[in-house]
Symmetry: D2
Subunit: 254 residues, 4 copies
Amino acid sequence: MAGKIRVTVWNEGRHEQRKEAVKALYPKGMHGTIAGFLSQAGMEARTATLDDPEHGLSEKVLAETDVLTWWGHGYHHEVADAIVDRVQQRVLQGMGLIVLHSGHYSKIFKRLMGTNCSLKWREAGEKERLWNIKPSHPITEGLGEYFELPNTEMYGERFDIPEPDELIFISWFPGGEVFRSGCVWYRGNGKVFYFRPGHETYPIYYHPDVQKVITNAARWAAARVTIDTSKAPKYAPLEPISPKPVDMSFVKKD
Amino acid sequence: MAGKIRVTVWNEGRHEQRKEAVKALYPKGMHGTIAGFLSQAGMEARTATLDDPEHGLSEKVLAETDVLTWWGHGYHHEVADAIVDRVQQRVLQGMGLIVLHSGHYSKIFKRLMGTNCSLKWREAGEKERLWNIKPSHPITEGLGEYFELPNTEMYGERFDIPEPDELIFISWFPGGEVFRSGCVWYRGNGKVFYFRPGHETYPIYYHPDVQKVITNAARWAAARVTIDTSKAPKYAPLEPISPKPVDMSFVKKD
Amino acid sequence: MAGKIRVTVWNEGRHEQRKEAVKALYPKGMHGTIAGFLSQAGMEARTATLDDPEHGLSEKVLAETDVLTWWGHGYHHEVADAIVDRVQQRVLQGMGLIVLHSGHYSKIFKRLMGTNCSLKWREAGEKERLWNIKPSHPITEGLGEYFELPNTEMYGERFDIPEPDELIFISWFPGGEVFRSGCVWYRGNGKVFYFRPGHETYPIYYHPDVQKVITNAARWAAARVTIDTSKAPKYAPLEPISPKPVDMSFVKKD
Amino acid sequence: MAGKIRVTVWNEGRHEQRKEAVKALYPKGMHGTIAGFLSQAGMEARTATLDDPEHGLSEKVLAETDVLTWWGHGYHHEVADAIVDRVQQRVLQGMGLIVLHSGHYSKIFKRLMGTNCSLKWREAGEKERLWNIKPSHPITEGLGEYFELPNTEMYGERFDIPEPDELIFISWFPGGEVFRSGCVWYRGNGKVFYFRPGHETYPIYYHPDVQKVITNAARWAAARVTIDTSKAPKYAPLEPISPKPVDMSFVKKD
């Protein structure tokens, strides 16, 4: 791909304004932190939030976006359906999408999955150990056989998703649960990656391995596809065909 | 499964009223023909159409439906979103769904796939040969290595769908196209089967092999699942956990 | 399927003869215990062991077998390649195969997977919790959202297998590991299920949930397929073709 | 990946010596032609043939190979099993493998698939049209919605392979058959691509679109993975575990 990878980092951006603890932890917002480490990795990262006009996701912004990352939690229902339609079409056209943590319940993720995307959860600051199930995948480049996060919110199975096209991580939690924490799906021309870790009150997006995964995933998901397969064209035959009268011999109308 | 399989055969049901040729071919509607051969196969088949109250798909009807078949073509947009929501939830809960022919563009199919479900098409009464790619699958029971339909509308790739969980049929058309004509996906607790053949002006649903496939698919898709995985419950640990203070050692706010 | 499901329960059968503890736990051999509960579930279960002539897997026995279960551990290399060929062909023809525990390293499983099937392990009598990832699958019928085994050998990821066609169970271990404990693959006309639990020194095959899974899996995997897709026939065209001289226009031999 | 992609182009290499027509068409062997266009695309391509010592696939050669391409037809059985073992292990370790045309019956391909890899065939110089099912995949970069080969040997379904992890091409033949002509599987750390076109008596490997696909596939499959997942290590617990006496409460030896 010629030029820098262009990432738009989307965040609700409200917890950071409304909760002191979150503001203290992420003074530039989680979007600011994420855009920061992606920029340092050589990408062109901009941010967009729920309260921006068109949620910061105008046609122009999306057209200039190779990968969109999505963090939402408490305000999924405030995302306008027209914007969800637009993002979905852009993914199907070829833009990569990285859905983070509680984004599992976002409209765009549920739209692309077709399922409820429900799961179990617990906020107890537990350790999480993410096992690397696909060590040769671009998303896991540079990781070992597992990595650990000292404090996270727990998500547990059954995660109501379509069987992933590629299963990248499975998480272990001390409370006794497991979770498919890194999942890949292909939708239209676009690549979708769901990555579980992340909670606004834990310093997840500062963690070096989390940053590595999101950076790897952005590189992997970035694409500039020019083929449009969204239309249903009437199509002339490529080979000569000879129309025949309709065969009704097997019709029994009883 | 105890008792008869309960199938609801859904159809727009308007072509049969508005076009003489379709009425002549399917005097009881395509839904009537389909329900007829499913009944003869020992199932309890009822019908429902677009113009029925709630499109014939009340909560009660769906609760009593093990498998829903869906045929739509010209009026997808008239299907109420609330009913689509309801059907989707019932599929995720475990009801089987068989989507027929131009139903590829129905709201419910696009909802469950997350993609545009676009394709190429041509209405020239061509032959179709469906190759049996999974001869050991319940859906192909009793079929040979292929079967032919003397006159059909052509659908051609690329079909904009998620990679099927199981690919059952690939079609050959004399005009030079191919198509993934029988595809299986799992969504939530439900099974989804897309089956390509069928056009209102050809006697597709009278064809013995088409009837065999739809009958097989109904048997395969029928389920009465009692597990509910639609919720996201807060979940107490199954093992003792010992909360620790949040580790901030790797945080760099620059 | 007409008549009873015919299962052949294969076991090395040597640990039970050579180790007192195993003999005491499984006086009829693990194969005897497994065949016992399958018989009680209404199947026709016979046993076969490594030291039987042809390992108990003659052409005749396999021809009369709908599902084969496989337990091996210390003597994989003593299984004759000719018998492995025979079992493989029978699976591809349609027989179900259920591979148990240390059978992950059997010749037949590695043959069907094409990978090393390696994993981490520890024998410390730990608890195992198996999360039910596919609650609507026939293999999990009657199970809750998870089940526990009080004492097992641990197996940990990364399990070197092809991405399963269906992932049924993920295990949690107190020592910090996870494992894809129940995996489905389709090979030829046959169904393959790998089920992790089981160790000769723990009473795994007496556990009601383990018995339920193996019984469900045998019902699911049983098949009598008559289609033979093992040959590569020369095939006459189904449509008229008109041979043309070979087009050499793009050949550049530099 | 630092440095040039290193490809080893393997060919039986006998048809070119024994049949005048093949020698005339491919004076440097098909391997020479393939290595030629890969070199022109900037890769470091070497060749190896059946009659070379160790079939040209020494430990050293394989260690220095990022991608291996494989063409075999009449002499699959002469490939030594020890070399097949070696190539398989190298694929599982991370080397890419591109299997061409009649290589579907090679030992290495059948080893990695676990199935018979059988298919229908006809040598009549027919046209082949390959439909691009995954236009956003690296393997199809630069291709349109289909491409055509004026003269090929026909291969028809059912192709006895495991369901591909990604289906890239479906072929249409004028005689009435279809074929999954481009298929991707992941095995261990390695990527495998099967590409159907190619016959020694047609100028397939001179065709610009065939060259494009093989070149794209080599770029996609090339990898230098350092993680070894071939071993089954005994593994110490990552979390403290407290051994308990074996629970025998559910044992019923009848």
